[in-house]
Symmetry: C2
Subunit: 367 residues, 2 copies
């Protein structure tokens, strides 16, 4: 059904297999910093108009690949499609963040929550298949979802938040209700990711964007437990291919030991974590089990001059150290990425400098 | 000049001396959650009207002590008084955060920066003396400042920020200019804290509120180095009394090993850090050197029911474990606090439950 894969460096690195250079993709790589994205978005009329239209979603997903030799594509969508399908009424006001028409703050609202009919998310799965076809095997396609906790933050707060007061108030006052929300979310996220896999996603990533706002103890109980519940339900392979699973908790560096036990192949890291330390903790030796690591350049580096961008990219690669090069065994691997989504204000030519530096320096690192 | 101290548990815990219970104070304990504070603020007309008026600043500093048996007072002021004295023109628009009329984003603006004449901050030092007198020795008075990096964030951004894009752009593009800003800030902060000590502050705290947004490597170079520069210049004692120094980097848990080397007595921690782990890393054994630890309850816990607040407070105390009780030697100690400032929406009676739980449970912990 789909063309054979030409560049499998990303998938190999996910499996901790040796690659000739460090593969790279960027969170939010299809986005407002690209003028061609802005053109498509203008045609679509709104963010959700863009995300729900299969042709537009396909077009913008491929745009960064036409500019840069990236090693993976990621589905263009939003993390809030799942609660939207639960009936909460997602919208994006001009120049503002996401907003839900209905919020989940009391027993009655929680009682109404259920895993949504996946047909309501058909537009996402159709986009996955369409993108996969359009890629013609150039690079693998990553599917994704918000984590159960991150979705709950938006569902309770009704949008973004500075202090997470409402969602944490509910968590501390009514842990029973919060566990119920998270259970529904976890089962919904698992069904959502499995449907993306069926539709053609070759790896999946769970964005625990707000796990890092939790206290030690609460993170384990209210975020990690439900990420684990998602992972336990995910398909391990599809049509004979294994499907690597990436978990990224922004601000979760302190809990790396806890995350080492997750049943996933890759851990995403933000820029606060020393990559050498993370490798030592969870990266595993050659021939031994471990996690592939993904990350972690500060997106603000991209505002520096191209030669400074290259220097910082080399510093990230050096902090991980030499990835293993044994063709016959697994070992520590690194997938280069940012530690958060790329800023809309990023000069596109600085991304070229980044990609060039990562590919060339990581080849040199392998000797 | 000042009355003798009646409750020295906080200062003893700073020095890692045994105390009969775990002393407690709350960041931003004088604030909008207290109706009496709102009354005084209304009289003052504006936040800066409140902070610059010695009588009002004294009044609001003492208000939480009249409600709760807290173990320390902290000067009522703002962290941005220093850049204001540098001529940047601080203001607080109604319902918004701080704003500077002049920002520091280019070579010309950086060249103009200098350590301000401390006479421009006389109102702060007068408030310190006035508060110290008004306290009549009930509890010790803590002075404070923003860290050099945290002040720089506001000076470059011109106010608060979501992404620290401007300050990080300057840092990555022109590290020379950023180092110059930070050097001036460090020397200004040191002079400012020393003047607070001269005026009567019995301990001082450096708030590195935004150190945690930096990448590993940048934190050490652009935040920690300048905190160290401040500490090196601080007076160790005043009129025969030692002056403990507290450093708090919000989101800095991953860098605890780096901070262990700081020349200060106490490290503040936010709620993401496991206190038992922090104690093991930097708390030191009985008779050995180490850091006292301060923190770290999530302020959002205070929105739960009073018995739930008490339960979470006990969990924080338990996570630290039993503080040492040897009257003749130093050892691991804990100062109870929040991991961030108290929210303006906090029900004041929940703070009573917190204080009661901390004092009673920590007595029990000592057996």
């Amino acid at each position: 059904m789909f063309a054979p894969l030409q560049n499998d460096h990303f998938l190999r690195a996910c499996r901790r297999q040796a690659t000739p250079y460090t593969p790279l993709w960027l969170m939010r790589q299809a986005g407002r910093y690209l003028p061609e994205y802005c053109t498509t978005r203008a045609k679509a009329g709104s963010f959700m108009g863009l995300a729900t239209n299969v042709d537009y979603a396909t077009e913008v997903t491929l745009q960064p690949l036409d500019r840069y030799p990236l090693d993976a594509a990621i589905l263009f969508s939003d993390i809030l499609t799942v609660p939207d399908a639960m009936g909460l009424g997602l919208s994006f006001a001009q120049g503002e963040g996401p907003k839900f028409a209905h919020v989940v703050r009391d027993e009655a609202a929680v009682a109404k929550l259920a895993v949504p009919d996946m047909n309501k998310l058909r537009y996402v799965f159709d986009a996955v298949t369409s993108i996969r076809k359009a890629l013609q095997g150039r690079v693998p396609l990553i599917g994704f979802s918000g984590s159960p906790w991150t979705l709950a933050c938006y569902m309770v707060e009704g949008g973004g938040s500075d202090d997470y007061r409402l969602v944490k108030s509910l968590m501390y006052q009514r842990p029973d209700l919060m566990h119920r929300i998270l259970t529904v979310n976890a089962d919904a996220v698992a069904a959502y990711l499995n449907a993306q896999i069926d539709a053609g996603a070759q790896a999946v990533m769970v964005f625990d964007s707000w796990g890092g706002v939790l206290a030690d103890g609460q993170f384990q109980d209210f975020s990690l437990t439900y990420t684990r519940r998602v992972l336990a339900q995910l398909k391990r392979e599809h049509e004979g291919q294994d499907i690597p699973r990436i978990v990224f908790t922004k601000g979760g560096g302190l809990w790396l030991d806890d995350m080492a036990g997750l049943d996933c192949e890759v851990l995403g890291l933000d820029w606060t974590v020393n990559l050498g330390w993370a490798r030592w903790k969870v990266g595993g030796s050659v021939g031994e089990p471990g996690k592939a690591l993904q990350g972690h350049l500060d997106p603000n580096v991209l505002f520096a001059k191209p030669e400074q961008v290259a220097e910082q990219a080399r510093a990230v690669l050096d902090s991980f150290g030499q990835p293993h090069t044994d063709p016959n065994r697994v070992g520590p691997t690194h997938i280069f990425n940012l530690g958060h989504g790329i800023s809309q204000f990023t000069p596109p030519e600085h991304v070229s400098a980044l990609v060039e530096a990562v590919h060339s320096h990581s080849k040199k690192l392998r000797g």
